[in-house]
């Protein structure tokens, strides 16, 4: 049967994620060390898991409100107030989603009409551009560069804006580069965003993994930004809860009203046990100053310094990441492209990394290495990479 007559050509034309190929190869290599993971190496803290188990035993097996449990939404609102000085009404401005990923999709579908342009700083997470396309919009990548610490600048933003630009995705702290935006950078972007009357979808899923002295600065907290920001976050990275699939979106009530329609008709609600676990994470965190998060952040920070230092020692130019758990070294001096480098490294030294090109064209010349892996394994992987680079 010729399905091409049936499917939506716009969707069919979206390329598959470039990461899949590496996944398939690594699967066949038991001795390979993977720096290609994109999630914490911690297991969800015990008390969080236990809360979910107890809720199952207590028979909490029903739907929740479309918005998510009100007790969880209240905890989210308190958390955002406490950690980032953001104020959202848990009744009608906080929506529990299936990971921050759902939030991206909801935001796009709620905002876009055919032909609307959405600015996407790159390199960045693989699902932004496809989500824009799925919602009928046109993604417009804005390349960022290592010279400017992979932080989107006001000038880069301004020059990408056209009369069709409706929104900007702001993916900081950034996967794959580890870049963050400091207060000054966020303020400058804010001026351009307000002047051009844009909506910002701020994906702050890595906000707890910020290693700079000033911590994470959310654009939603700047003057006049709350009204034009769709704030996305979740539990995956901060609380090592990737598999639970719980995130949240926050926005002014009028905007949220539209997003909730899509969510209620397509998702109904996030899984009840995931919500219970998430609530426990925040409740306990409020009491012990987020000690789970602090412990994990400190451990990532040690490994971040180790990894960054090792790439510098190899003579590869490497921008110092101050967020997330990735380093994004430049491998251009090897004369290879990102894909070739990663393929040969995997075949010759059994170390898996992700080519920068998986995160946008401007990722060419870089590789993403995740340091959320035990130090002894990182050591082996780093010495194999050093051998590989020296052998060229």
């Amino acid at each position: 049967m010729d399905y091409s007559r049936y499917w939506n050509p716009a969707i069919a034309a979206v390329p598959k994620s470039g990461i899949r190929k590496f996944f398939d190869i690594v699967q066949t290599m038991p001795g390979a060390i993977s720096l290609g993971v994109g999630e914490p190496d911690f297991v969800t803290p015990y008390h969080i898991r236990n809360a979910a188990i107890n809720s199952i035993l207590d028979g909490e097996t029903q739907y929740t409100s479309n918005w998510g449990r009100i007790s969880l939404r209240r905890e989210i609102a308190r958390y955002l107030q406490k950690r980032y000085h953001l104020s959202y009404n848990p009744e009608n401005e906080v929506l529990v989603t299936i990971g921050a990923s759902e939030g991206i999709d909801l935001a796009m579908r709620a905002l876009l009409t055919p032909g609307d342009e959405v600015l996407v700083p790159e390199p960045s997470y693989v699902s932004y551009c496809p989500s824009v396309v799925f919602a009928g919009g046109i993604p417009v990548p804005i390349p960022t560069s290592a010279e400017r610490n992979f932080a989107l600048t006001a000038e880069e933003l301004e020059s990408a804006i056209t009369p069709r630009t409706k929104a900007l995705i702001l993916p900081y702290p950034n996967n794959p580069t580890g870049a963050v935006l400091d207060r000054e950078a966020v303020q400058k972007l804010r001026d351009v965003i307000v002047r051009h009357d844009l909506i910002v979808i701020s994906d702050e899923i890595y906000s707890e993994l910020s290693y700079g002295p000033e911590g994470h600065v959310s654009i939603a907290g700047l003057p006049d930004m709350r009204e034009r920001t769709i704030y996305l976050n979740g539990f995956s990275k901060a609380f090592a809860m990737t598999g639970w699939r719980v995130g949240y979106a926050c926005a002014p009530a009028e905007l949220m009203d539209v997003m909730v329609k899509i969510h209620q008709y397509t998702i109904m609600c996030a899984s009840t046990q995931g919500q219970v676990a998430a609530e426990e994470a925040l409740r306990q965190g409020r009491e012990d100053d987020y000690s789970d998060v602090q412990t994990m952040r400190q451990s990532y920070d040690h490994r971040r310094r180790l990894m960054y230092g090792a790439f510098c020692d190899m003579g590869l130019s490497c921008f110092e990441p101050l967020g997330a758990f990735y380093v994004f070294p430049n491998i251009q001096k090897t004369g290879m492209g990102s894909e070739e480098f990663c393929e040969r490294l995997l075949h010759e030294k059994e170390v898996a990394c992700v080519p920068g090109t998986a995160f946008g064209e401007c990722g060419e010349g870089h590789i993403r290495c995740c340091y959320a892996t035990a130090v002894d394994k990182l050591d082996i992987a780093l010495s194999r990479i050093a051998d590989f680079v020296n052998s060229l």
Binding site: G36, H302, A358
Partner: protein, 163 residues
């Protein structure tokens, strides 16, 4: 105590063979500074020894371990310290804790054989004047010690590559 010293202690507790240079990188300090910090922690009796966690069950060394609860009469002016001191001087005694609750001291005792351990309890420990009673519990298996899981599933369950 400074956060940095605590971070250092935690790193050493995880792996005390981490080279100084590497610890320095991980903490964002100079190796000399880390060296000085370690010297200081040693001098102050905070770091007492650098020893590995060993799973003796996997060796062919004959060895039995027991936890012994000990009830004692505290001594005037000295409380429990004097008797604790007498007990910890025995080579068989590896660990001594003063406990709250139904008994006073908890010992972790090691010997080559059951017989030897029984001999220790009956001829060395029980006969001490202030000891009023003991209860010996033999260790059958160690599942986890010092934060290290001795056996079981500790594999990385993550997918090798994801976005």
């Amino acid at each position: 105590m400074q956060n940095l010293q605590i971070e250092l202690l935690q790193l050493l507790q995880q792996d005390c063979r981490l080279p100084l240079e590497k610890i320095a990188v991980m903490l964002g300090q100079k190796p000399e500074a880390v060296g000085a910090m370690i010297d200081d922690l040693e001098k102050r009796g905070i770091i007492l020894r650098y020893s590995p966690v060993i799973n003796w069950d996997k060796t062919d060394k004959d060895r039995v371990e027991a936890m012994i609860e000990v009830r004692v009469t505290p001594q005037r002016d000295e409380g429990f310290d004097a008797i604790a001191k007498r007990i910890y001087r025995f080579d068989e005694v590896k660990t001594v804790y003063l406990m709250s609750g139904a008994y006073d001291l908890l010992l972790l005792v090691e010997a080559h054989s059951l017989k030897e351990l029984g001999y220790f309890v009956s001829t060395k420990l029980s006969v001490l004047e202030s000891v009023t009673g003991t209860a010996t519990h033999f260790v059958l298996k160690r599942y986890k010690s010092d934060g290290v899981i001795f056996e079981g599933d500790i594999q990385d369950k993550r997918m090798a590559v994801n976005p």
